[in-house]
């Protein structure tokens, strides 16, 4: 029995270790590469750079309008995340928690977004955006990203709302609270873990999306960070060092946001006690 337990434990340990390695390797590799020269990167060594120089970082800031794009990216990602969790959370609530007639129609409708190939959306969206004057605007990008995240947000949040016991609201109604108030005061706080995860995914989507950002914006005052990463690669003159330095600069805020939102998810653990 003891031997069996030990084997299982070692198995689990190796599995987790493997996961950690494949997860940390990319970031570590990018981080190390961001201090290397192009020669060192293309030479493929895994070791440390000969000299830890910040040249790639200063180059990156010179070659691409990173600072400007940074502000736009923060605006777009934060607004779209907050709005999506709140506004689409409402939809997820009625989808996950109540029985009504056309529920399955709406469910299917919202999941359609997962199935449409992005390449097929580019031209139609460009057309709609230019004809509604939403192109080249941050609010346009926010709207698009919210919609891109819509299926996932609805899925995640509605499946969580489904697990919330109905007695909770019933007692709230008995206390005289209205529908909207109950949603804000009672349901949302309980749904923190789901909001956290949906929020993380929405934030990452808005922070990393490149193709539509490039198509739907034209001026540098409206553009976001992923576009900046393409300033370092042209066929005959790539600067990989600067590209990785820029990647690091781009990735740091998302790591911070991820860790912060994770706290939400974690704190949901204790909230679970409230429910029982």
């Amino acid at each position: 029995m003891k031997v069996k337990k030990a084997i299982i434990k070692t198995g689990i340990f190796i599995f987790v270790l493997f996961i950690i390695i494949i997860s940390v390797a990319p970031l570590l590799w990018v981080l190390l590469s961001s201090f290397k020269t192009n020669r060192e990167i293309l030479g493929g060594g895994l070791g440390l750079p000969a000299v830890f120089s910040m040249k790639n970082y200063t180059d990156a800031l010179k070659l691409a309008p990173i600072t400007q794009f940074y502000i736009n990216s923060i605006l777009v990602a934060v607004v779209s995340t907050a709005a999506s969790v709140l506004l689409f959370g409402m939809g997820a609530y009625v989808l996950g928690h109540f029985e009504w007639k056309f529920k399955n129609v709406f469910r299917t409708l919202f999941s359609l977004g997962l199935l449409i190939p992005g390449a097929a959306l580019l031209q139609p969206l460009y057309q709609t955006f230019t004809s509604t004057n939403l192109n080249d605007s941050l609010s346009g990008l926010i709207l698009v990203y919210m919609a891109f995240g819509l299926p996932t947000t609805i899925y995640i949040m509605s499946s969580y709302f489904q697990t919330i016991p109905k007695e909770l609201e019933e007692s709230a109604y008995l206390d005289g609270a209205g529908f909207f108030k109950t949603f804000i005061r009672i349901i949302l706080p309980i749904a923190k873990p789901a909001m956290g995860t949906a929020g993380v995914l929405q934030f990452l989507l808005s922070w990393n999306e490149f193709q539509f950002a490039l198509t739907l914006t034209t001026s540098n005052t409206k553009r976001t960070l992923p576009i900046a990463l393409y300033y370092f690669k042209s066929q005959f003159a790539s600067n990989y060092g600067a590209m990785f330095a820029a990647t690091i600069m781009v990735v740091i805020p998302s790591i911070i946001v991820y860790i912060l939102l994770q706290e939400q998810v974690v704190s949901g653990l204790s909230a679970g006690a409230v429910k029982s």
Binding site: F15, V16, I22, S23, P26, L27, W29, V30, I41, G44, G45, L87, F88, M90, G91, Y93, V94, F98, E99, W100, K103, F110, L112, L114, L115, I116, P117, G118, A119, A120, L122, Q127, T128, V144, A147, Y155, I156, S159, Y160, Q162, T163, I164, K166, F179, F180, P193, A194, G196, T197, L201, L204, L229, Y240, T247, V251, Y258, V265, V266, G268, G272
Partner: protein, 291 residues
């Protein structure tokens, strides 16, 4: 539970509005132009089912892209989801390191896929890549050019999608927070092992979210494009070509929007079938209690 109509409409409004603006209009354009001869820069001309007939009868690339996509959907919704769920179960029990591992595991999903793709290309380079260097030192010879050898390309691309399992893990773990600790306590007192608790108590309660993540994982294969374009471009031959890459190629290389949109319609129908099947299997949307 019943809901008043006015609240129903009010609460559905934002999501529906976003859907109509961003998806519904393009969707109508997509479906209607899939029956036309529409090339870049020109107006669409109606040609009935010609595009579809062409695709299913005379387009070798479309058939291989379709088959590859189906295989990837199967792999993604079984193996990758499996890995994610197992990890979630392990991590939930070990409060000591789960927070760390969970954060770490998500990292590849945080970095732009361009950087991840480039890293894979470098690590697997046959001349100087770390993987072959390491294997060479261990005494292996005749090492493959992972992304480019006809025999290894497909498997190698599949591995680059492994980090997606992290999303599964965080979703399942978030849902696990809703489990009443009391049930598990009771089971422990009755002498159940951790394995039994996982299998008989937790997993059934996680049915909904596992179904949801399976849908997300499966349908993500209808969007995967970046890493393929960065690594194999669908080659060697058509061995790693998938439908998103083929839509992209048809629209922006061959300049044929009409056919690209027909492929898009086929993908949407295929996707609906996949979602339907997964819904059936996991009975998503039915409350566990009412089950």
């Amino acid at each position: 539970m019943k809901i008043k109509k006015k609240f129903l409409i009010l609460f559905l409004l934002p999501a529906t509005a976003a859907f109509i603006f961003v998806y519904a209009i393009p969707l109508v354009m997509l479906v209607s132009t899939s029956f036309t001869d529409w090339r870049v820069g020109s107006a669409p001309i109606f040609n009935g089912l010609a595009n579809y007939i062409q695709l299913f009868t005379a387009d070798r690339q479309f058939i291989s892209a379709g088959l590859n996509t189906i295989i990837w959907i199967l792999l993604q919704s079984t193996i990758h989801v499996g890995i994610g769920v197992v990890l979630a179960l392990i991590l939930a029990r070990k409060k000591f390191y789960w927070k760390f591992v969970r954060t770490v595991y998500m990292l590849p999903n945080i970095i732009s896929s361009a950087a991840v793709g480039m890293m894979f290309v470098m690590l697997l380079n046959p001349s100087f890549g770390a993987v072959n260097t390491l294997l060479g030192k261990l005494g292996f010879t005749n090492l493959p050019n992972w992304f480019m050898d006809p025999g290894t390309a497909f498997g190698t691309v599949t591995i680059t999608w492994l980090p997606f399992a992290a999303t599964v893990t965080i979703l399942v773990m978030a849902e696990m927070t809703s489990i009443d600790e009391g049930i598990m306590e009771a089971a422990r007192i009755d002498g159940a092992t951790e394995g039994q608790i996982n299998w008989y108590i937790i997993l059934p309660l996680m049915r909904n979210i596992i179904g949801t993540t399976t849908i997300l994982a499966a349908t993500s294969m209808l969007q995967k494009l970046d890493i393929i374009m960065m690594t194999t471009k669908g080659g060697p031959g058509d061995r790693t070509l998938n439908l998103p890459a083929y839509v992209y190629q048809t629209a922006f290389t061959s300049n044929n929007f009409g056919i690209a949109n027909s492929i898009g319609v086929v993908m949407i129908i295929a996707g609906l079938i996949v979602v339907g099947i997964i819904n059936r299997i996991y009975k998503i949307g039915k409350n566990s209690a009412e089950g």
